[in-house]
């Protein structure tokens, strides 16, 4: 056991630093540093830059990514340096979710059609799992796909679909059969968003932003060949995907950056003769958060290391999801606390940054972020559901 990096690792770190110094676009950096939302073009441009370097699809087998696979330590270093530079978070739906399903279960034709386009960020994917009646109980989903010749006719409604307004394709769980065991009639279906009969309606969230949508399917005709894996195997694929999405699930490296930002900003927040960082109560919360964060980081590293030596991640991913999201929420809360009254002025998303801000220049995005991040303990399997998973799978209760 040891924690030190080898000479090769340190060289790799330098390579990442040099690459970012040379290639991180100024306009994107500016928005990121101000915590302003990126537009579609900026997201895509950044992903293409990483992809060209081979640092985009780092969890794909090199057969599909076309780049040498990074070691566990290299991935760790890459993630940390990217986070220190506060580069944009990659959109997971294509590269992290749909692609692993396609390269693990898809046909050659599906692989050829979709993987290069995902690798190159030419196609924007969204995830169509949840429905109004099926959230935590996903297996109860009702969106139907009825076979007609060599097509499926899809009818139903998906909801909370993140960034569907930008999406070119959606991967869906649909019911292809009514079976006594509800999990067995579900299939994994890829649908082109341009197909007739699809309608996207925005849902505005408490922070005033448009991030999620309802997607309606009215007799949408989808070729049968767009099913991934076997018909009726969708549920197993969905479970596989949950397991696959484990590295970086806790967002540790971004948390470390945000914590040190909080520390810096609170050291320049005046309270009487001193600063907020000198206030024992606030200081204690920062240090507690740091300890919890370090614990989570090493829980993640232990999990990843046991996986790389052949262990399976299983329900440990749930620990990381719970702890990571709790930390994200805690931090967003401490930023609000730090600002005091200046957390309250509120501007619509499109006014952010265009106005000179009220209070400190970083103030504008802090409350929206706090409100928006209530979502992280709800989506991706709520934290209650994750605790159910741990209690069943690990504790055997």
């Amino acid at each position: 056991m040891n924690l030190s990096f080898s000479k090769e690792d340190l060289d790799f770190k330098q390579e990442v630093v040099d690459f970012l110094d040379a290639n991180y676009p100024g306009d994107i950096k500016e928005r990121q540093d101000k915590r302003l939302p990126l537009d579609k073009e900026q997201n895509i441009r950044w992903q293409k830059i990483l992809s060209k370097k081979g640092w985009f699809a780092v969890n794909w087998p090199s057969e599909y990514s076309g780049s040498p696979e990074l070691s566990l330590t290299q991935k760790y270093i890459l993630q940390n340096v990217l986070a220190e530079y506060n580069t944009p978070v990659l959109l997971p739906f294509g590269v992290g979710m749909c692609a692993p399903v396609i390269f693990s279960f898809g046909t050659d034709k599906q692989k050829k059609q979709h993987l290069p386009a995902i690798l190159n960020s030419d196609v924007w994917w969204c995830q169509g799992y949840s429905e109004p009646g099926s959230g935590s109980d996903l297996a109860s989903l009702k969106t139907k796909a009825d076979k007609e010749g060599d097509s499926y006719i899809v009818n139903g409604c998906k909801t909370w679909t993140t960034l569907a307004q930008h999406a070119d394709w959606i991967f869906c769980l649909v019911r292809t059969e009514t079976t006594p065991i509800k999990q067995e009639g579900i299939s994994f279906l890829l649908i082109d968003m341009k197909t007739a009969g699809i309608e996207v309606k925005p849902i505005i969230t408490v922070d005033g932003s448009h991030e999620v949508n309802m997607v309606f399917f009215d007799n949408v005709k989808v070729p049968c060949e767009n099913i991934v894996g076997e018909v009726g195997q969708g549920w197993n694929i969905a479970k596989f995907l949950l397991m696959h999405e484990r590295s970086g699930i806790a967002g540790i490296s971004s948390l470390k950056r945000e914590l040190s930002r909080l520390r810096e900003l609170s050291a320049s927040t005046i309270v009487n003769e001193g600063t907020l960082l000198d206030e024992p109560a606030f200081r204690a919360k920062i240090e507690q958060t740091e300890i919890e964060l370090t614990a989570t980081e090493f829980t993640e590293l232990r999990t990843l290391s046991s996986m790389s030596s052949g262990g399976s991640p299983g329900a440990e991913a749930s620990i990381l999801k719970i702890k990571g999201t709790e930390l994200q929420q805690k931090l967003s809360e401490l930023f609000v606390e730090m600002l005091g009254y200046y957390a309250h002025p509120f501007f619509a998303e499109n006014e952010l940054g265009s106005n000179d801000s009220i209070g400190p220049e970083y103030a504008g995005s802090i409350m929206p972020h706090y409100l928006n991040y209530r979502k992280v303990s709800i989506y991706g399997g709520s934290n209650e559901i994750q605790r159910n998973v741990i209690s069943k799978a690990i504790l055997g209760l």
Partner: protein, 375 residues
């Protein structure tokens, strides 16, 4: 000891309750946040007609001589309806201050208008560097012959955009954080040299940043004694903490009840989610937090009403508890509603946002715990 409302108080409570239920439905409320002023003049006139705007003011000022218990009753009901009308800002923070410490002329000049619903007020006490310390005042007022000249900056002045007059704290002597040497001034919103930047706050209310550049006001605008404004301001903030805590308790009640109702009807895994024990316990905790706040609210309000020696400590204890409970109940209501909880459409998110700002206004939990310890 008696924890029941008297006949008159019960009557008022019923009146406000009825108003909220009949005239303050959710759609009407939501349409108000889109208007310029962010509240309804019709509603404000109703408040005036029903005598609510003068409820806590003395008879001399055209009020009805009520107590902080009457204010508590109103505010708790307002909290349930998530009422946007600036009662706290105009009546509790300002009019009561003038009623208690203003000159006869100031009372006549301002309070008649308040009681009739014609005058809106705002208290400008915070500054960018002051955080929650009321004594941290850099805005200056200099006496020159018979005028005061004001220079400085006031931040996040609640109800600023609607105010006809401001009460502004300014330093007339002493150092930046001295309690003595602060004076309060009644300043017309139209006075030259006073400029404001108006905006919405996250709870859809209105606020302003005020800049004072050589604002000249006559000596008669001084409220209370020169240099002795801190005690007056501090007392106003104490009353305001009681009022906003009552609002919080009202909002908490709606949130925990709404959440309980939702979990009875929302089904997952073939059963109402309210059947899951972990959620039951969570809601029990929300309910208990609400009850604990209500207990401290009653206790602190009565102590304040009776001028008890430890009233200030009770008020800080209350605000500490309200800050924590607001956060817990707000966050958990969202959590238990799942995705629905984070939508702008549902009222839950709006109650959550108001409870979030209440947690900060007049000092957050850390601030009041420290103050509690020192008292």
């Amino acid at each position: 000891m008696d924890f029941t409302f008297n006949e008159e108080q019960t009557l008022i409570q019923g009146q406000v309750e009825q108003f909220i239920q009949r005239d303050y439905d959710w759609e009407s409320r939501q349409s108000l946040i889109l208007t310029d002023s962010g509240y309804s003049l019709d509603n404000w006139n109703t408040f005036a007609e029903l005598g609510w705007l003068g409820i806590s003011l003395s008879d001399d000022s055209g009020g009805f001589g009520g107590s902080s218990i009457d204010t508590m009753i109103l505010m708790e009901e307002f909290g349930k309806g998530l009422v946007l009308e600036p009662f706290l800002e105009t009546v509790v923070m300002c009019a009561e201050l003038i009623d208690k410490s203003g000159t006869l002329e100031q009372k006549k000049d301002v309070l008649t208008g308040v009681v009739e619903g014609k005058t809106q007020l705002a208290l400008a006490y915070a500054e960018p560097q002051s955080r929650f310390n009321l004594a941290d005042v850099m805005t200056e007022a200099k006496l020159e012959s018979d005028n005061f000249i004001l220079n400085g900056f006031k931040s996040v002045v609640m109800n600023g955009p609607n105010a006809n007059k401001f009460i502004i704290s300014a330093r007339t002597s002493g150092d930046q954080r001295d309690e003595s040497g602060i004076s309060l001034f009644l300043v017309d919103a139209e006075v030259s040299g006073l400029s404001s930047r108006d905006y919405q706050t996250v709870d859809n209310r209105r606020a302003s940043e005020l800049t004072l550049e050589s604002v000249v006001i006559p000596r008669s605008c001084l409220i209370g004694e020169l240099d002795e404004g801190f005690t007056v301001l501090d007392a106003a903030i104490d009353r305001s903490i009681l009022a906003i805590s009552a609002e919080a308790v009202g909002a908490m009640e709606v949130l925990y009840k709404t959440t309980v109702e939702y979990t009875k009807t929302r089904e997952q895994f073939g059963t109402p989610i309210g059947k899951f024990q972990v959620l039951q316990h969570r809601m029990v905790d929300m309910f208990m937090e609400y009850e604990q706040c209500k207990s401290l609210l009653y206790m602190a309000t009565m102590k304040h009403d009776e001028d008890s020696a430890d009233a200030k400590k009770a008020i800080s204890g209350l605000k500490y508890q309200v800050g924590n409970a607001s956060k817990f109940i707000g966050q958990q209501s969202v959590q238990l509603h799942g995705g629905m909880g984070v939508t702008d459409e549902l009222n839950v998110g709006h109650y959550f946002k108001r409870l979030t700002t209440i947690g900060t206004i007049f000092g957050n939990s850390d601030y009041h715990l420290k103050k509690y310890t020192s008292l």
